[in-house]
Each structure stands twice: as structure tokens, then as C-alpha cells.
Symmetry: C2
Subunit: 469 residues, 2 copies
Amino acid sequence: MAAEQPGAAEGSVIESTPFVLKCPKGTRDYDPFQMAIRQRVFGIITTCFKRHGAVTISTPVFELKETLTGKYGEDSKLIYDLADQGGELLSLRYDLTVPFARYLAMNKIKQMKRFHIAQVYRRDNPAMTKGRFREFYQCDFDIAGDYDLMIPDSECLKLLHEILTDLKLGNFVIKVNHRKILDGLFAACGVPTDKFRAICSAVDKLDKTPWETVREEMIEKGLTGEVADAIGGYVQLSGGSDLIEKLQMDASLMKIKDAENGLNEMQLLFQYCEIMGITGQLSFDLSLARGLDYYTGVIFEAILKGDSSSPGSTVSVGSVSGGGRYDELVNMFDPKSGKVPCVGFSVGIERIFSIMEARAKEGALGDIRTSPTVVMVASAQKELVKERMKVSNMLWDAGIPAEMSYKKDPKFLNQIQFCEQHGIPLIVIVGADEKEKGGVKIREVNARREAESFVLLKDLVDEVKKRLT
Amino acid sequence: MAAEQPGAAEGSVIESTPFVLKCPKGTRDYDPFQMAIRQRVFGIITTCFKRHGAVTISTPVFELKETLTGKYGEDSKLIYDLADQGGELLSLRYDLTVPFARYLAMNKIKQMKRFHIAQVYRRDNPAMTKGRFREFYQCDFDIAGDYDLMIPDSECLKLLHEILTDLKLGNFVIKVNHRKILDGLFAACGVPTDKFRAICSAVDKLDKTPWETVREEMIEKGLTGEVADAIGGYVQLSGGSDLIEKLQMDASLMKIKDAENGLNEMQLLFQYCEIMGITGQLSFDLSLARGLDYYTGVIFEAILKGDSSSPGSTVSVGSVSGGGRYDELVNMFDPKSGKVPCVGFSVGIERIFSIMEARAKEGALGDIRTSPTVVMVASAQKELVKERMKVSNMLWDAGIPAEMSYKKDPKFLNQIQFCEQHGIPLIVIVGADEKEKGGVKIREVNARREAESFVLLKDLVDEVKKRLT
């Protein structure tokens, strides 16, 4: 429920009013340590994206409301709208896929391989300990273009496999299915065409909900128990090439053109994935349906299998990525353009980030330094602030990350402690005697013998560079 | 005006409805070329921030509406609110300063030097050719902590000077002023205390508006013509240390404590800036007022002076950065905490980006490649898609950015053209004969002599690495 909000007087004189200090529900700040981990995760993922030749684009955080309308099925209710303050009606982006399709259509682009790392917004029920937020990053990779069957699709799976491997997240499985196979089996079981999407979204709940509950939902949605049970016989199957072959021998399924095509495509996909050595982590899973309306072909989802003995184990199990083929989405924006088929996926970073953070706290990621500073310009005497400033300035002008205390006459011990707290390796000490002789003393903070050497100011930059290598 | 919006049926069947394809007013997409430039600009600015020892944080794109209330004076009307969909009332962040102060207060942090690069949102009248957008990046640097006078302030000016120098944007000037000097001269001229902020925001318009118009606004705001003219005598002054000294001899000004303190601080600031060698670009400018309510001390603004002969000259003149001291903002969130004085600035990236983009298009920034790919795995023959996939996979697994055509049997010429369009330096050619012999051919795309060499598959990765160095 919305709280009562008194009309805020605009341009009013500043007043100190105490109130609840918090981030909005389902959001959070990142502190410097968390930022260092986040940047490490983004670095690994970006390297993988670039390894496959992707360029990057960016789109605004909000879109015209109608750009998002009719793309997300039942999830549309989770879209954040902006207030109508006069002007266009806007909504925060719900994913990066629809903005990408809008970008392609608007610019009449027929072929593109792009990645996009940015935040998306969903008014979902947050479960922050499980990594479910209302503002969260997605790392998207998509291939747009009218190409041959399963070649871009299999590269997406290979790339996703690389990302999960390079992030060292432990065992994982990539579930794959195909919308045509789902549609085909719905048809084979006697589901009316206009109920395909609704039944699809019921099937999608099977990962969190027992079959009996899903069966009830199907019956509520207008299926007979018999039809629901027939579906149940299929959607509880999973396997590899063997399952594809088994279904290809199912006469009632194979007489549906969609099912036949879908199964043949799945077979080809597995062949390509075999060449790329990733079938060990691939599972053809008929219960995988994916909630979003826009998928038209292969769909997939990556799930971490977890390891209860490892740090972050409470968040280490669950879905971290999903994707699939969406051949009609660009045409929804520009029906007159030729076909712009697309396939791609999105890696959700929050759960991965939580695992990495837990691991970093146990020291498993090595030393994560947040401060970039390599030299502290210090002094043990008073009245030397201008001298410290002069020396710092010399280092800055030489491109060397340096800091000095902002106190006029700081205590020497405080300056040493600052170095230790921030992992600063070098300390340059300004003193009256040294100033007289045109130099400073330099010392390595963590050296066993805390030996100080005198250096002439003109040689300081070279000496610092030498000691840093 | 808001357009009529029919109630969108949620979860409805996908329909292809043609509509206006566009980004929201005042926003834009970045294409891969623009992204490459943007990343270059961010890279330069981030290097400067880190050189001064700043860590980074991030905060959500929206805040509780009340977090932003009462911080921006007359500009508050430009804040984007989110629709009330049940739950908290939220607004998009208007700058990065208020979220930083909220972060400090919420986490009881008393000292921090941080940078934050992120988008902010203002419902301003966009002028996109001049680089004025409704969604735009700010690159913020701030020093929080109770330190000695003008030491952090002068480092901010030095850092801003470094950024503008390293970005190579041509001549610039950094205007400086002090809120206490402004308040002091308002008092000396006879402005009532409760009108200080309103008169300050009138003075702030002097950079775009002639004095006569500003004078009228002051009279409308309740000053007599005489008082306004007295203010006019001061706020049209600018200079360096000489002007500070001149004002320090102005008896009617110096009897106001605020003015005396402000001028002494300004003198110290200029002394520190002299040590750091940046007074050549510094101008003490009494017309500089800065619109925002939260400033309490030194304020400054950087202006590009432009060069009409250079690329991007239409956007090359104007303000690119502003900042100042805000000693009370953190306490507005947590009045019981001790003092957390802050000083910092924000670099607006859009105008800088427009200049860099114009320059890049004239080739002045060297070769800006958008594709990361270094090897194209091609074939001149049919039926070799699986072989191309195998070779590509080998390169990917060795960490080498590689691409192959997504066509089953692509034309050789198209593959060569792809390399040329994307600046891919190496081509690996898969053929039936070579496959037989367990290898491929390799060739440098831009080599004068297009010599192909045979390489065994087991040696390919080493050969590629050798040729890339």
C-alpha cells in the first residue's frame, strides 16, 4: 500500500527532516568491495562475449510503454511504469531483449551479434538472500540474422557453457527444449491452439511446483483431466540424444508437423553441441517452457547444481541464465520489414554475484583490493602541507596513483595506518631536512626491514616506477 | 501532453500492431561505434579518478521520493516520479550526489573518497544537438570527511583539470566562487536572509541571460532597484588572486563575517592551486552561483572555450562539469550524526561525447574498431560447417576471439568481405584436402602478398598467437 505523501513544496528552504533511510524495496547499494567483485564478474563475462565477436550497444533505461506492451505474457503486471507527468507514457525496461528488437527494427538492421550488460526492473516479490531483486543486472548476448538452422543456436549454448565454466561456479546443467516440440505435443494431446501459450506457462511452473498442482492449473485453464495427463506423460521426460530418438519413434507425436520439425532441429542442435564438446552439461528437458511469449524455437535455461560444502551454498542452486529463439519479435515492431530471426540468452548476475561475494569473503578469490593508490605522500612534521601537495602533484602528473592526508598536520601514525588499511605499497616521506636537500625519503610499507632511502625529487618518479615493477 | 492510452490487456495473445518506433523523448541508443568512443571517454576519466585514490560504489537508479525532496530547489520540478503501483513512492535519481549522501548517512560512513559513473534523469527540455538529454551520464568524484580548509577542495580542482587535459578538449576555464562570498555580498548589499537562495538562483542565470533580465527577476523577487544594482556591481566581476585582494580591501564587504571567511578561504584555495600549477585555467567569477540548494562553500564549473575550426565545434563550447562543497547534506539524512562535510564534482559526459564522436568521424582519434574478432574461420567449399565449427571451437577454447559464418555453405567472397568490413586480421581456411591432412590454411587478410600457409590443427593456436603479436 502506498504511504500518505504530503505535497512537497518545490524550491522550499532546506529543512532537516528525519525519515527512514533506506534503499527502495528490492534494491541495494554496492560498496567498494562488492563493486570490485562485480567488475571481476563483468570482466569474465565480457571477455567471453568478445571471444565470440560480439559488439555492444546501449539503450535507454525506459522505453515507451507501448514498446513493452504484449511482449511478456502474464509477467506484464511486473513492469514498472513512470508517473504521467505530461508527455509520453514510459516504462522501465523489463529485459534487454525487447529493447534490442526495437533497436533492430528502428534502425532497419538485419544482422547483428551484440552483447549488452545493464540493469532491468521487475516489480516482483524480492527474495534478496536468494539473489532475487527488483533492480538487477542482465548480461545479454544475441545473434540476429537469417541464418541456417541451429548454427547460431548452438554457438549460444557453447558461449553460455564457456561463461559458466570461466566463472568457476561448480557443476551446472543447461536444460534445452523447443517451442515447436511443446506446441506439437500439446496438439498431439488435444490442446486447442488458442490455449497453447496458457498451457505453456502452466508447464513452466514445473520446476518449482509438483505435477499435481500444475495439472490442476491446466484443468482450470479448460483442459480435461485426460488431456492434462497426456501432457504430463511427456513433460516429465528428460534426457539426451536418446530421448530425441525415442520421441522420433512416437507416431502420434510425429504426425504433428511442428513436433517433427522441432525434434529434427533438436537432433541437429545436439550434433553441433557434440562437436563443441558440451553435451555433457546439456539436458533435453520437456518440462522447460520459459514464461515469455516471444520465444518461437529452441529455449534453454542454465541451472547451477550447487555444492553444499562450498561458500555461498545457500544461493548456489538455481537458474542463472535463460534464453532461446525469437523469430517474430523484430517483426512485431516493423511488420513490413523482412524476417529478422534472433536467438540469444541472458545471464542474471545477482545469484552469481552472491556466490562470488561469499567466496571472496572466505579468501577464495585471492586479494581483492579496492583502493587503486600505490603511493602515500606523508609527513612526520608540521607545516609541510604545501610540500606534500607539491610531491603528490608531481606523482599525479606522472600518472602515478597517489594520496596524501587532507589534514594540514596529520599524525604520522595515522598516515601509516592508512597505508596498511588500504594496502598502499609505497610511502614517500616529506621532511624539513629532506626538503632542504631537494628530496624526500621513500619506504616500502610491508618490507621486512623498514629501510628508508633518500631520493632527489627529480628522480622520485623513476624510483617509484622502479619499485612498483 | 499525455497521449490517450488504451488499457493494454495483460497476458494477451501477441499481436502485430504497427506504432511509432522511437526512443523516449530526450533519450537515445548508442550504436557499437558510439559505445567504443563512450568507453574510451570513461576509461580516461576512470584512470584520473583512480590516480587520486578513489574507490567506486553504486546505488539504485531510483530512490524513495522523500530522499530527493527538498534538495534541488527550483529544479525539483524536473524529477521523474514512478507511477504509484502500490508500495513505496519512488523517483529516478536526479544526480549522484544526493544518493551518495544518503549512502554515507545510511551506513554511518564518516570518510570516503569515491567515484561513481552512472546515468541520471531530468525532465528538462532536451536539446540533443547541444548534448542536453533527459537520460545522461554523470561521472562523479567526491571527498567526504572532516578535513582542513581547502585541501580536498583544491585536489578536486586539480583532478578536474587533469580530466579536461587528458580528454584533450582544447582550452577550458574553471570558474570558482564561494557560497559564503555570495551570501556575504548579498548581506552587504542589503538582501534579507530569507531571500538569499532565491537571489542566488537569479544570479545563476547570468551565464545565459543579460544583466538587465536578471535585475528584473531580482526586483520581481522583492529587491529594490538600488539593492539589485549593488549586487550587479559585484557579480559582474571576475579575475584571479588580484580580485580576491581587491575585495579584501572592500570595507563594506569585509565587515560581513561570511564574506571575510569566504575570501580568506578563496585566497588559500588559490595558493594551493598555484602549487599544483592550475591557476592559469582558474577564474574567480562572482557571477557563478550554481542552482542547487545543497552547496555551502566553494563552488565551481568548468567551461570549454571551443575552437570554431575543430570538429564538433557546434557542441564544443559550454559547461561540462560543476561541483562544490556541501557540508550539510549528509546531516539532512541523519541530523544526529556528527558532521560529514563533503566536496566533489560531476563531469557531464554527453557534450564531451559529442565532441569526441565528431572528432572520431574525422579520424582524429585513430582507428576505432568495434569488433573484437581476430580470426575468421572460413571455407570455400560446401559441406564443411561441422569442420568450421570444430576449428572455431578450438580457438574459443584457447581464448582467441573467432567467428565463423552462420550459413551452412557461405560464399567465400562474403566471408572475405566480412573480414574486411570488421577489420579481422586473420583468416583460417577449412578445406576438404586440408581436413584430410589434419590441418587448415591460414592467411593474413591485409597482407600485401595473400600467401596462404598450411598449418596442422594441433599447431593452429600457437600459429595464430604468433601471428597476432
